[in-house]
Amino acid sequence: MSVASPLLEVEGLTKSYGGIHAVRGVSFSLRSGEILALIGPNGAGKSTCFDMLNGQNRPDAGHVRLLGEETTGKKPREIWRLGVGRTFQITATFATMTVRENVQVALISHGKQLFNLWGSAPRFDRGEAVRLLELVGMAGYADRPCGELAYGDLKRLELAVALANEPKLLLMDEPTAGMAPRERVELMRLTAQIAKEKSIGVLFTEHDMDVVFEHADRIIVLNRGTLIAEGSPAEVRGNPQVQAIYLGEGLLYEGGHREGASA
């Protein structure tokens, strides 16, 4: 892993809404194959930060570079073309299509066949679609209508869709929100495994500290729009500022998975 060109470089990212700073001068970077967690209490600016990385929101100041290329202010679809896959906090899938077709649409887009009026989408790159579904353990559901999937399955489907453009970077906004605890761990384990295998960088936000500490290589902590800590899980856990923020929330204790925890 070369230090020369990080996968993602964020520099002095700033955004304010009506005089209130949502994000202030946030800088960090991410290398290939690394899993980076972005955490912080509610209203810390995680989502704003995230939206600026994937192009849904334009920063007031600062830069985002992907693979050395400036992506600040680019549209989400342009950033996707550079090799960024993403999943949403609330799943966004194509409800009137089957599970496989959801993946196929992403493959069609990746193959630049969006304006192909003649071919057959249900037959488009079926093999690859099934392979991606297998990867996330959804192959058995390939022909199911997406609209009747359970929520955990939708999350896994989103992961398969996010992997369709052979991304170098995955942006996952609360990937396990709304899932049962067991499913959360499974999904993140799966993600981590795929990331390591394909050497994909992963940036995710998460409320569930168990998930964070188990899977993140590195953690950055936001509070009131500013980056207050950065480091390995152990370092962050030991950080007094972080402890102060999370004090009383009981989220930083080490240990197994707390049954019944909610996001």
């Binding site: 299509m97 069609i108 304006f115 929520y151 869709v161």
Partner: protein, 629 residues
């Protein structure tokens, strides 16, 4: 100077009556999301009942009492309609309610003639407001002054109602987020019913108050409904203040516009709406719609290409249709050609609506442009028929390219209304530009050449083109492009996140649909041998919508069936009875209640049930938790 003041006041008086009706429509849409096409019909019934009551009871009490009583009576009818008809279809695909209320409107237009007779009725003047007030030598009718005061008073009452009562708070909450109110445990049923009643009351009051100014007749509804829709959209859907401002804006622009361009009235409101929507996509006082709601209802059943058996069946149906000339006479063949042409028209809109989720209210524009394209080429350039048929639709294509570009920047009802505005602009050009288009007298003598002149040949031509178009669009539905289009409909967020440029995809779809409609129009010009502005008119656009909705917007082939059923029924009824609107309207209402997913949608559900009854239930999967945080 006095003149301009008086002209301004006159404009305000016109605005007041427009506002009354528009505010009702706006409230109803805001809360129930119903595009209430019958709003004009309620306005008209209000006027008719008020006429009867004010003729019957004399004096000031009789008049004003009659007006209020009429509005109340119509509100009661509104409640009945809401409970009997609309309640059954709130969960049907959006716009399906449009179909139901359209059916009602058709019925009412015939019913008022049956009840009140065919003559235009002129009612009493308002007691105490018969004369005029002198303003520096200019006369202002005192009834105008009354209306000028009434507008803001009604606005004020509505404002108080919404700000100061629990009911109003609920209405406002529902306007912003319908689902949330449902979650709060509010009895949604009665909220909707009461809102509908208030909206209808305002419409009927608006109608009743026209008695001293207007004649009461059976086409009043159409005169007002489109204009009112436009006002509501300019103001911003669901915004009462917006409706008021828009009504004033439109009326004043008209009052002063005619001083400079006396012919402006015919198109003014649509020009204003087009400009407003391009600059402010949600109207003057509207807010961006919550994005989450899907345009067509979410059918859980994904579409699939036809199986080989189904393909054989479709082919067999086509072969049977192609054999019609062996048994049928010239008239039946010409009707067959017309139906085939409307199949083309309907499937083109269906492609846009069901695959793209883009409901165009002005699709006739491209149909008509195709027809005019043919007429120009044939009459002015004298080109052969086959060339005209190939090139004529290009006019539809160009129109769709220009207007589609602006239209796809919007979504939902705003998209629909912008397409309507464009269609009306095209219509008024065809209507006004007499030297080129012949105005409303149209272009005559566009008859087919010899090879296609006989009814059977033309029928085969139309049938063949219809089959090709239907197949081509079906192939497109299942093509990568079709999926990309459907992706933009299902989830804007996700499609953008997988690299799909939604606007470009939708624009392309719009152009495809427009060109296809143009093909239908080109054939239509030859079928009828003439082209008239009403080939681009609102009623044809509405016909297309009805055909699509009747067939089923969530289906792939609904457009075909919808067109055949609607057009055949329409032609047959018009031929059989002068009350065709009453029967057709009744039929539509019946379909809406019995088959809320359209005819084809219903057939699919039936087929599915049959399939499901053999293998035991596989639908025990957990429900999606869409609202998880």
């Amino acid at each position: 100077m006095a003149f301009y003041v008086v002209q301004f006041l006159t404009g305000l008086a016109s605005a007041a009556s427009l506002f009354l009706v528009a505010s009702g429509l706006s409230i109803i849409f805001g809360v129930t999301r119903i595009v209430n096409f019958a709003h004009g019909a309620f306005y008209m019934i209000g006027a008719y009942i008020a006429f009867t009551l004010t003729e019957r009871f004399s004096g000031a009490f009789g008049f004003w009492g009659g007006v209020v009583l009429a509005a109340l009576a119509v509100a009661l009818i509104g409640v009945l309609v809401e409970m009997v008809l609309l309640r059954r279809i709130y969960h049907a695909p959006e716009l399906f309610q449009l179909l139901g209320t359209f059916g009602l409107t058709l019925m009412v237009e015939d019913l008022v003639v049956l009840i009140w007779g065919p003559d235009d009725l002129v009612g009493r003047r308002a007691p105490g407001f018969k004369g005029a007030v002198d303003f520096f030598g200019q006369n202002i009718p005192s009834y105008d002054l009354f209306l000028i005061v009434l507008g803001p008073v009604v606005l004020g009452i509505l404002w108080l109602l919404f700000q100061r009562t629990r009911w109003g708070v609920l209405v406002r909450a529902a306007t912003q987020d319908r689902d949330m109110v449902a979650a709060l445990g509010v009895n949604q049923k009665w909220l909707f019913t009461s809102v509908f009643a208030v909206g209808v009351f305002l419409a009927a009051l608006g109608g009743a108050l026209q008695i001293p100014r207007d004649a009461v007749h059976h086409a009043m509804d159409l005169r007002i409904i489109v204009e009112v829709f436009v006002v509501v959209v300019i103001g911003g859907l669901g915004s009462i203040v917006g409706a008021f401002v828009a009504a004033v804006l439109v009326s004043e622009l008209n009052a002063f516009g005619i001083l400079i361009f006396p012919k402006i009235s015919i198109i003014l409101v649509f020009l204003v709406m087009a400009v407003v929507l391009i600059v402010r996509p949600w109207g003057l006082f509207g807010k961006p719609e919550a994005a989450a709601r899907k345009t067509p209802g979410l059918s859980v059943n994904p579409w699939r290409p036809l199986t080989s058996n189904e393909r054989l069946a479709a082919l067999a149906a086509l072969v049977v249709a192609a054999m019609l000339p062996l048994v049928a006479g010239n008239y039946a063949l010409t009707v067959g050609s017309e139906i085939a042409i409307f199949v083309i028209f309907a499937v083109s809109l269906h492609f846009l609506m069901s695959v793209g989720g883009l409901a165009s209210f002005g699709h006739a524009a491209y149909f008509g442009l195709g027809a005019y394209g043919v007429a120009f080429l044939a009459k002015m350039a004298g080109l052969p028929m086959i060339v005209c048929l190939l090139l004529g639709p290009l006019l539809g294509c160009m129109g769709a390219a220009v207007f589609g570009f602006f239209a796809v920047q919007l979504s939902g009802v705003y998209f629909a209304m912008l397409t309507l505005a464009f269609a009306q602009i095209v219509w008024s050009i065809a209507f006004q530009w007499v030297s080129v288009t012949g105005g409303d007298n149209g272009i005559l003598g566009v008859w087919p050449e010899k090879w296609a002149a006989s009814p059977s040949h033309f029928y085969w031509l139309a049938l063949g083109v219809a089959a090709l178009v239907t197949i081509a669009l079906r192939v497109m539905v299942f093509s990568p492009f079709g999926y990309a289009l459907r992706a933009t409909r299902d989830s804007v967020l996700r499609s953008e996140a997988v690299g799909i440029d939604a606007k470009r995809i939708q624009w392309t779809a719009f152009v495809i649909a427009g060109t296809t409609a143009g093909i239908g129009g080109a054939l239509f010009a030859y079928l009828k041998g003439s082209v008239f502005p009403d080939n681009l008119g609102i009623s044809l656009s509405v016909d297309a919508l009805v055909m699509v909705l009747l067939g089923g917007v969530e289906t792939v082939s609904g457009g075909v069936i919808g067109a055949i059923v609607y057009k055949a029924l329409n032609i047959w009824l018009v031929s059989q009875t002068d009350l065709s609107k009453l029967v057709l309207g009744g039929f539509i209402v019946l379909i809406v209640v019995v088959f809320p997913k359209g005819i084809v949608g219903m057939l699919e559900i039936l087929a599915q049930r049959r399939r499901k009854s053999s293998p035991p239930g596989s639908s025990l999967l957990a429900k999606p938790i869409e609202s998880a945080e």
